[in-house]
């Protein structure tokens, strides 16, 4: 350990770390940086992170200077600030300053640091260097603007070090240096969207998000990606103050949220651009079958009808298909209702054959966010994993009723198999957030909220329980699944216990050994791993 002084404050940090790491760990100071990124190698080329170190003749860059015992560092001294300011002026010399039409505006580090460290009287009075690629797509996800680029090479290093796809290079020399992808190539890998995140300026922008909304209109909620069982930590950026804008689309983009244990700083493109289901093809109405046609109804009617069906149901001749797309809280109340209260034996959750691409970095082949949680919450000694045997049972006419959560049986088993099933099963209750043919064929259709519209937790592939927060109000008439399940339980004679998902989780933690000792506060931002017995 080394004891050093940063801006008059004495701190003890690990020996041999860099000054910028020490500043980030031990202080609140936001030392300016462009090329430095904790997930990438040190390039030391932007030169903005200048600090004054006593007994050193000149200011030094914090990203490539290691701390030593007794070091006295100033980040805000006149000498340090002058250094930071002059470097910024160089960086902006050939920058086009096209902020009004730049999509990065509002989250651009050139803007931010100019306001904080710049504010100089500009001296540049000559013609700026023109570069070839202005707003040119370089792949399906990213657009390049070479003139805005400050050549920090974060994207170059990302391609070299993280994806190992070696996409980017710097071409030419001096102030004619250009950032580009290699000739004849396109930026097309599973993690390409990250380069827009790490680009500190508007040189690499996200084609999906570009011009959808100014970033200062965005709201942000901490969430977890539902694209696979990794559970990458994300921000859901949503429309906040302009409800008229792009009328139906509320989620504007997803951004990775740092979690060293799960996804570090990154997320894959499948997850990043896989948010559209939240605002498209949504089930917005409660419906019941009336005279052979589904009709819009209210929650009271639908829930009462469902409760009546459940009350009459023969536990041996009904089945419930829950889903690893649902939160631990949802699944816990499902378990309580169907297994404990109604004593059903036919419970399963996992739709097989849906596994997809997997790599050795972030992407997992199980495309459900909560398979591990479902297995744990539902207690697999009593519950079957795979839903297929129950579907087969239904097809053979051995079931009177089926309560389906989320699974589109038509898509999973084909329309013919589903027709057969539907002809044998007298009653089908469907609960889910998307419109599909299975839902259309239900006697009762209960629209539920997506993860973006409720609070809850998922348990990722390695047993990490992670919280996601509510970003949006549930679309249309939809409601959180745990609320729907509680209402059904109340109608079946249980007491109303929960007005927040948090309290549902508290009971889960009390009853389920694997979750014991956890609560939302303890799970925090980083998540907690299940206890293993």
């Amino acid at each position: 350990m080394a004891t050093i002084t940063i801006d008059g404050k004495q701190v003890t940090v690990k020996d041999g770390i860099t000054i910028i790491e020490a500043i980030d760990q031990a202080t609140q100071t936001d030392l300016p940086r462009y090329c430095y990124h904790p997930g990438l190698s040190i390039a030391g080329n932007c030169r903005i992170c200048q600090v004054e170190v006593e007994k050193m003749p000149r200011t030094v860059i914090a990203c490539n200077t290691r701390v030593a015992e007794g070091m006295v560092i100033h980040t805000q001294s006149a000498k340090a600030k002058e250094s930071q300011q002059v470097v910024l002026e160089f960086l902006l010399a050939n920058h086009p300053l096209d902020c009004p039409v730049c999509d990065q505006a509002g989250e651009c580090k050139l803007q931010d640091y100019y306001m904080e460290y710049g504010l100089y009287d500009p001296k540049f009075n000559d013609e700026k260097v023109k570069k070839k690629k202005k707003a040119v797509p370089i792949g399906p996800t990213i657009l390049l603007d070479q003139e805005r680029c400050i050549l920090c090479t974060r994207c170059v290093r990302f391609g070299d070090e993280i994806t190992k796809t070696n996409d980017f290079g710097v071409f030419n020399r001096g102030d004619h240096s250009e950032l580009d992808i290699y000739p004849g190539k396109e930026l097309n890998n599973k993690y390409s969207g990250n380069v827009a995140d790490i680009c500190p300026v508007g040189a690499l922008t996200d084609r999906d998000f570009r011009f959808k909304m100014r970033v200062w209109y965005l709201g942000s909620a901490d969430s977890v990606c539902t694209g696979c069982s990794r559970g990458c930590n994300i921000f859901i950026n949503y429309e906040r103050s302009r409800p008229y804008h792009l009328e139906k689309e509320r989620v504007m983009r997803l951004k990775p949220r740092e979690n060293q244990e799960v996804n570090r700083w990154w997320m894959c493109d499948d997850g990043r651009y896989g948010y559209k289901f939240i605002d498209t093809n949504r089930a917005l109405e409660v419906r019941i079958l009336d005279g052979g046609v589904q009709q819009k109804t209210d929650w009271k009617t639908a829930l009462e009808k469902t409760a009546a069906l459940l009350k009459k149901a023969d536990p041996a001749r009904w089945a419930v298909l829950v889903s690893p797309q649902y939160s631990n809280e949802d699944l816990y109340l499902a378990q309580k209702l169907f297994a404990h209260k109604l004593k059903w034996k036919n419970i399963a959750f996992y739709a097989p054959g849906q596994e997809g691409f997997e790599d050795d970095f972030l992407i997992k082949k199980d495309k459900n966010p909560n398979t591990a949680g479902a297995a744990q919450v539902l207690n697999l000694s009593q519950v079957a994993h795979d839903i297929t045997p129950l579907v087969e049972k239904a097809k053979r006419g051995e079931l009177d009723g089926l309560f389906v959560f989320g699974h589109d049986l038509v898509k999973l088993y084909g329309i013919d198999a589903f027709r057969q099933l539907r002809s044998k099963v007298k009653t089908l209750v469907y609960e889910g957030w998307s419109l599909n043919l299975t839902a259309d064929a239900a006697d009762v259709f209960l629209p539920s909220a997506t993860h973006a519209e409720k609070e809850g937790t998922f348990t990722n592939f390695e047993g990490r329980v992670q919280r996601f927060r509510k970003a949006l109000e549930p679309a249309g008439a939809s409601r959180a699944t745990w609320e729907i399940l509680q209402d059904l339980a109340v109608l079946l004679g249980e007491a109303r216990k929960y007005d927040r998902a948090e309290f549902v989780f508290e009971d889960l933690a009390k009853e389920n050994e694997a979750f014991s000792g956890m609560d939302y506060k303890k799970i925090g931002m980083g998540g907690l791993c299940l206890r293993t017995s």
């Binding site: 080329n45 030169r47 200048q50 002059v86 710097v170 020399r173």
Partner: protein
């Protein structure tokens, strides 16, 4: 100065061929040393000879060799910096072209001292003939087993690879050179770590200049004391000075370290051409700060020139008579630096181009007096804020020309002289 040392074969016909070189004594020292001395003794001799890196930095060579990790497990590489690109410098090409065996023998000794079995010569791409002859010399040395396995029966191995650069000035910076040699873009590396610890292919590496290594056989042949005495205090040996510009006899001169600049110009180079008045001298390549005619009573060695506020650098002495326009000089200097900046660090990338734009504007008659201040500010702001010293080298001409010849610059601007920059020159990228 009685007898030439480094340049003793420069005017001998075919001295670059092994037969002639051997008749002049080549490889005798290497043979003797490899059979009789220990590696550390060689390093010690180089250290006490006060041999300093003759590429420009002037760092004591023996000391550099001692930075190598002791008993390291990785191979050690010797890399010869033959990327002589500093404007006004043309000394190494004489060695490569006229006496390459002198270099190869120096490399054998240096490699022996630092326990390296593989060496590279990185030759500037534009040096076509020097490359050809050096390659022939290396091939000839291999044929006689002066290179390869078990040199002179001593059990020592050495392989030499001659590699041509692709024409970037920055690749003369030792870490950019290493990147280039590895097949990477010629960007200088962040230091630390220094090449002696992490160099070529991540292994300990010594990078030495051509002339530096050419001195080594002479040190071991005639003794460290003898060599040290040839020069001035702390600056051992002789040095090849490239004299160019407005002198009667331009060329490469081998003179002792510390030779007075005035003597160099007036005696050795035969004085300013056409009997004109001396105006200024750049003593160490374009990067060195300029000296006015009144400042030439200085000894040409590392320490004296540093005390005079400039540097010996690559010992490329450029002499200017009073017909020289300093604005034009600065135009060419900034053009060079803006063209050659590698573009890695923002102050240099943007600063060199920006400065050149302003100087071009002044040169073309559209400058203002305020521009001079801006130039000095840009130069000051570039200095000391980058990975390598290129930005400092780019700043020094700006600072020294404008400060020392300010009235001339101001007059030029006031009179709005118009000298159209040839298009090919102004935008030579």
């Amino acid at each position: 100065m009685t007898e030439p040392i480094l340049s003793r074969n420069f005017n001998i016909a075919d001295a670059w061929k092994l037969g002639v070189a051997e008749s002049r004594g080549a490889y005798a020292t290497a043979k003797k040393v490899l059979g009789s001395m220990k590696p550390d003794e060689v390093t010690h001799a180089v250290l006490t000879a006060n041999l300093r890196g003759l590429g420009g930095a002037g760092f004591p060579t023996g000391k550099k060799w001692q930075f190598l990790p002791k008993d390291g497990k990785k191979p050690v590489y010797l890399v010869v910096n033959a990327d002589e690109g500093e404007p006004g410098t043309f000394k190494d090409r004489y060695i490569l072209e006229r006496d390459p065996h002198q270099l190869i023998e120096g490399m054998i000794l240096a490699a022996f001292a630092i326990r390296s079995r593989k060496a590279y010569i990185y030759i500037r791409g534009e040096y076509v003939e020097p490359f050809r002859r050096t390659q022939v010399a290396v091939d000839e040395a291999y044929a006689k087993n002066y290179l390869g396995k078990n040199l002179f029966g001593s059990g020592v191995d050495l392989d030499i690879v001659v590699h041509r650069g692709a024409g970037a000035y920055i690749c003369g910076e030792e870490t950019a050179l290493l990147n280039s040699l590895e097949g990477q873009r010629g960007y200088p590396r962040l230091k630390p770590p220094f090449p002696a610890l992490v160099g070529l292919f991540g292994c300990p590496t010594i990078v030495n200049n051509v002339e530096t290594l050419a001195c080594v056989p002479h040190i071991l042949k005639n003794g460290a004391e003898w060599f040290a005495k040839l020069g001035s205090t702390g600056n051992g040996g002789t040095h090849l000075f490239s004299l160019s510009g407005h002198v009667n006899k331009p060329g490469v001169y081998e003179l002792p370290m510390g030779t007075p600049l005035r003597k160099m110009i007036e005696v050795h180079a035969g004085g300013v051409r056409g009997g004109k008045k001396l105006k200024a001298v750049i003593p160490g390549g374009i990067s060195a700060k300029i000296l006015t005619a009144a400042e030439i009573d200085v000894n040409m060695d590392y320490d004296s020139l540093r005390n005079a506020g400039t540097m010996l650098g690559s010992a490329g002495v450029m002499v200017m008579d009073d017909s020289t326009c300093m604005v034009k000089m600065l135009f060419y200097a900034t053009k060079f630096f803006s063209h050659e900046s590698c573009g890695q660090c923002s102050p240099c990338r943007e600063g060199t181009g920006w400065a050149h734009k302003i100087v071009t504007r002044i040169y073309e008659g559209c400058g203002s007096l305020k521009d001079l201040e801006t130039l000095l500010v840009i130069a000051r702001n570039m200095e000391g804020r980058t990975i390598c010293v290129f930005a400092d080298a780019a700043a020094w001409p700006i600072q020294s020309y404008i400060t020392k010849f300010r009235p001339e610059f101001e007059e030029y601007i006031r009179k709005k002289k118009f000298e159209p920059a040839r298009p090919a020159m102004a935008g030579a990228h």
